[in-house]
């Protein structure tokens, strides 16, 4: 027993060094597996607060750009409103249904919540975004984040007033996408090189791809289907396989993010529950 104490005293620094290293690695491994970390909650509140202060200053530099984006989005939405459509046939009249319940039996699947971006990285291998909207304002883990021009990422950490979003520009991020033209689907990933471009893998060579084609989220992804991701900028045919690798220019400009929408999939829990019940071996 005495020898053990002597040993510990002799190598105290080495032992504490090894312990701290193990502690750091435990966090790294736990984090990369589940995207949750010890103390994450408190730390998120503190860093979120500091980032918010910083962002209030930075905001002034991009006010004009943010306004233009929001105005463009408003115009697009107004074009979709019923009031913009008018039939020349006067026997048909359009009534706006004031009933809050949809009588066709449709259920609301997606709920859009606006949020302000308070912190944003583009230079790391794993980039994250902080939003000023958290658990108290209805944000939960795994919710989707969309910007005025296209998708942004997915919520990985939530505290009371802030949410941490794994940006599309993250080596761990994977989004199921398809070509708008002919519905061929593949995976959008980021290779860590240029924050303006992401990669779309696994598009079969039978697809007729051309530069400038629109890439949207597929109906298999957690994102609402049909949201803009970007446009094809470069096409590489893999010699060894039957697939194209497409470079996609993101429609969201990640350098100037100001506002985003957190999209709550209200049926997500039900879908996951059903999928978990699938019998393993049949």
């Amino acid at each position: 027993m005495r020898n053990i104490f002597l040993f510990i005293r002799r190598y105290f620094t080495l032992i504490s060094f090894v312990l701290l290293q193990i502690f750091a690695w435990a966090m790294l491994i736990k984090y990369s597996r589940t995207h949750e970390a010890i103390f994450a909650n408190n730390a998120n509140e503190v860093t979120g607060y500091v980032s918010g202060k910083y962002k209030t200053v930075e905001d002034y530099l991009y006010l004009k750009k943010a306004n233009e984006d929001l105005a463009a989005e408003n115009a697009r939405l107004k074009n979709m409103m019923a009031i913009s459509f008018q039939g020349p046939d006067s026997t048909q009249q359009l009534y706006i249904d004031s009933l809050s319940k949809d009588t066709l039996g449709r259920v609301r699947k997606f709920l859009w919540l606006p949020a302000k971006v308070v912190n944003n990285d583009v230079n790391n291998e794993a980039n994250y975004i902080t939003l000023h909207r958290g658990r108290n304002q209805g944000v939960e883990k795994d919710m989707i984040v969309v910007g005025p021009n296209g998708i942004i990422g997915k919520v990985v950490l939530v505290s009371d007033n802030y949410a941490r979003v794994m940006s599309l520009l993250n080596r761990f991020s994977k989004v199921s996408a398809m070509l708008k033209k002919d519905n061929y689907s593949g995976m959008v990933e980021w290779d860590g090189k240029d924050p303006r471009y992401v990669t779309l893998n696994n598009i079969s060579k039978s697809a007729k791809v051309a530069k400038g084609d629109t890439v949207i989220t597929s109906n298999l992804s957690e994102y609402p289907a049909g949201l803009m991701i970007g446009t094809v900028a470069n096409i590489t045919a893999e010699k060894a396989s039957n697939y194209y690798t497409l470079t996609v220019k993101t429609s969201t400009n990640f350098f100037t993010l100001q506002y985003a929408y957190v999209v709550a999939n209200l049926l997500y829990g039900e879908q996951k529950q059903l999928e978990a019940q699938t019998p393993k071996a049949q």
Partner: protein, 177 residues
């Protein structure tokens, strides 16, 4: 200003500068990323106990991690350089025990060549470990080699500029202080 207060201010400043200035600079290339924050560990006073040094480095690295959103990424390399630091200083310090007459490592207290060796070795260790962690999670071997070399070059340049801009007057330790 007392050494404690000075180091607390440095702790906050280094993290804020790294998180809100250097991490916001648009990257020239995937490999070229300015990293300066670990200079805090290099500038800690001589007379800290080795265990204290490890704990301070760990807490410092962890605070940096929460701004970067990747817990453990900076904490592990910081602890490593804090562990190696005393051994390195033992070799580099002149025999007439500089640590008794100076407060912290600087160009003045160590001399040009030993201080440069000290900075280069610790920067190399820090970056190799940092990129190694990134490599185990993402990337390939070319990424590892390229990023270590590129980040080291940028960091050394930044440290040189910092040393020139904020010239620290090497204080002699007196009984009064």
């Amino acid at each position: 200003m007392s050494t404690l207060l000075k180091n607390i201010i440095r702790f906050v400043l280094f993290i804020l500068v790294q998180a809100f200035v250097l991490d916001k600079v648009p990257a020239l290339h995937q490999y070229v990323k300015p990293v300066l924050y670990f200079l805090f560990v290099l500038w800690l006073p001589f007379n800290l106990p080795r265990f204290g040094l490890l704990v301070i480095a760990f807490v410092f690295g962890l605070s940096m991690d929460y701004f970067a959103g990747w817990p453990g990424l900076h904490a592990a390399p910081c602890v490593l350089i804090a562990y190696v630091r005393p051994f390195l200083l033992n070799i580099l310090l002149p025999q007439e025990s500089t640590e008794l007459s100076y407060v912290e490592p600087s160009i003045k207290s160590l001399g040009w060549a030993p201080y440069a060796t000290y900075v280069v070795i610790l920067t190399f260790l820090h970056h190799t470990y940092l990129v190694l962690i990134e490599w185990t999670q993402v990337g390939d071997f070319v990424f590892f080699i390229g990023k270590v070399i590129a980040t080291m070059a940028v960091s050394l340049l930044l440290i040189f500029v910092t040393e020139m801009l904020f010239f620290r007057k090497a204080k002699f330790r007196t009984n009064a202080a």
